[in-house]
């Protein structure tokens, strides 16, 4: 009995909208008729620490947590965070990197270096690496805070989910005032 369940791991820093993005993704998947589970930790992690969200989907999902070496797509909202969760990816897994650097405290204090070779390290190990500048595309969509939606758009390229479901999911997830900018951001991501 081979399971059809796949895992996506989203990783970023508190305040980047990781949880909102994974909420939307799960809603869209559920509306597409899939079983879906997602998991993350709230609380202390909100204070500028790492934030991850595991999303697992398929016909019948048991665990809301992915195991190491088994993730299909790693979506890093911050460049360095790609490295922190690299061991979750399955061989041949897909990596999407937001080309944005947010310094951890030790780097700010001058006690550690921000690794300068993130993208080449990832490229050496995985065949499919997409690098986007999400804040820049979000600016183009008219709202810098839509960077997380841009990244969902990039992710959509690798998932077999109907475009109409995405549009419905994204428009319904935001107040009317910013829904259009988010849909635009999603499309910019999908076409990036």
């Amino acid at each position: 009995m081979k399971s059809d369940v796949k895992s996506i791991l989203m990783a970023g820093v508190g305040g980047q909208g990781v949880l909102r993005a994974s909420d939307i993704l799960c809603q869209v998947m559920m509306d597409s008729g899939l079983d879906v589970k997602k998991s993350e930790v709230h609380g202390m992690a909100q204070r500028g620490g790492c934030v991850t969200s595991h999303v697992r989907y398929g016909r019948k999902v048991h665990s809301p947590l992915a195991k190491k070496g088994d993730v299909e797509v790693l979506l890093a909202f911050e460049k360095l965070e790609t490295l922190r969760y690299l061991d979750y990816l399955r061989p041949g897994g897909v990596v999407i990197i937001n080309d944005e650097e947010l310094n951890p405290p030790a780097v700010n204090l001058g006690a550690a270096d921000y690794p300068d070779s993130v993208i080449s390290i990832v490229r050496e190990r995985f065949p499919s690496v997409t690098v986007v500048n999400a804040p820049e595309l979000a600016d183009r969509a008219g709202n810098r805070r839509t960077a997380n939606t841009v990244l969902l758009g990039v992710l959509a390229k690798f998932l077999k989910i109907d475009g109409k479901q995405w549009e419905k999911g994204i428009r319904e997830s935001f107040p009317p005032k910013v829904a259009e900018a988010n849909w635009k951001a999603f499309e910019l991501g999908r076409n990036a």
Partner: protein, 607 residues
Amino acid sequence: MTASKKKAAAGRALMSGNEAIARGAYECGVRFGSGYPGTPSTEILEEFARYEGVYAEWSPNEKVALEVGIGAALAGARALVTMKHVGVNVAADPLFTVSYTGTNGALVIVSADDPSLHSSQNEQDNRNYAKFAKIPMLEPADSEEARRFVKLAFELSERFDTPVFLRSVTRVSHSKSVVTPEEPVPVEDRTAITFNAAKYVMVPFNARVRRVEVEKRTQALREFAETFPENRMEMNDPEVGVITAGMCYHYTKAAFPNFSYLKLGLVHPLPEGLIREFAQKVKKLYVIEEMDPFFEEQIRALGIPVIGKEIFPYTGEFDPGVIESAISGPRLSGVAACPVPIPPRPPNLCPGCPHRGLFHVLNRLKVFVTGDIGCYTLSFMKPLEGLHSCICMGASIGMAHGMSKALGEKGRGKIVGVIGDSTFLHSGITPLMNLAYNRGDAVIVICDNRTTAMTGMQEHPGTGYTLQGARAKAVDLLALIPALGIESVRVVDPYDLKATRTVLREELNRPGPSVVISQRACVLFKRGAEAARKPLRVDPDTCIGCRTCVGLGCPAIAWRSFEGMSPEQVKKNAKKQDGMAAIDGTLCNGCTVCQQLCKVGAIVEEE
């Protein structure tokens, strides 16, 4: 959008375990809830409070919350009481005796445990409380079960006249999965005043009688457990059987879908007959549970050989990988380790956090700071290093008193206890009274940020609002503290470093106990927000690279080493300068704490 606002008619909804617990309680007619916020339990009551016709309150602590629930149940209501695992410690006193009295109405206590200590000071396994206090406990494995099990918990409470535990863990409370909500049942008012002293007055004479009733009830529950449909056998491969419960069922199922399972919905008391029957059907038997060998010890005591903690960890959260490697050996292939060091990203105080200035001052005063539970506990870390102990809520004051008594003269002017506003009202008042009564010699600082910040801005008796948004009497700290016997109470603004330092010095030099209220609203707290301040910037022509501002550990302040900079960027204003500070204007809220520390005036307002 919250689950309570979504249309239940939609058929399927994505809910967190916490949202589902609230939903299930609402569906089965529960309209009374109390609790104290604590990760991972907080959202249960917040969500429950949003349903129509519900009464829900944040009580000042878990003991009070449980007593409120007991009172409501005694009046005939169905009461939901929520707390995190360590909150049950606070509520343990009434807990053990309400087990004797029974509940009249219905009483369900949610204990949200935190394996791996994602947001807690310990990793206790609260299944032990069920056995210890002789209270049945249900444990759901996902959101849909959470919704259904809370209803079963209320049914059990009514049927067996007992409080019932619903145990969640972080991974159930904070994961989302698909739920099929049902229409709420019509609510009937069953409240009334009934007198029954023999049952509700627990003096020895009555309690001895009730004690026997508790044993009878437990026996009845054991029999019930044998046929309870949520104690469920799933026979697949008879070679390997697994006894498990809650989220561990899903982890194991994901790794080994073909094993046979006995999934326990009721984790206390255990169905001995069912366990024996299952054990006979399989050749090899694993018991898979996070934290304590709670099932394992009881099953071994039945004389059934099992494989348990000799291969599965005692500590930390499991996942399918943990279980797979324990059973099949570690999987090495396909895991890509990172070849370079990755700087950690620990949680940090926010830019403009009012705690930062206070803890910088405390660090410089070279005092011992007993700490408490709150965001400010993070200031034990580099570079602030302004806090030196953390045990539990309320502990800072009692510990400061004990230290000052033990040290005597050696401790004069060197002991400070810090506590938050919510935690002070949770369990700081009694130890402060003790500090005054037994005349300890310590300065207590109440970090009053006007809210319960760490768990996400919950109201408390000092905020002037209730959980459901009604205006309330706010505790007047300046009246309360002197009434406890503390003669010196002073208020400072922690954004004002000089005043904070001066007041703390004066109070440390004053013999006897005193309180300093460090008062400023949390920067994330919208209601407490003042007019926006201008962000600051570092003037590169003035900065001498002394790193003083960097030492505040503010996420908005970065160190820029000259190494690797182009020559035109390098601005040297001091002999041995090797870099300069920089402020990220998008993060800075203009609190001016760094500006006050800068000796050369290099930190200025952004134009």
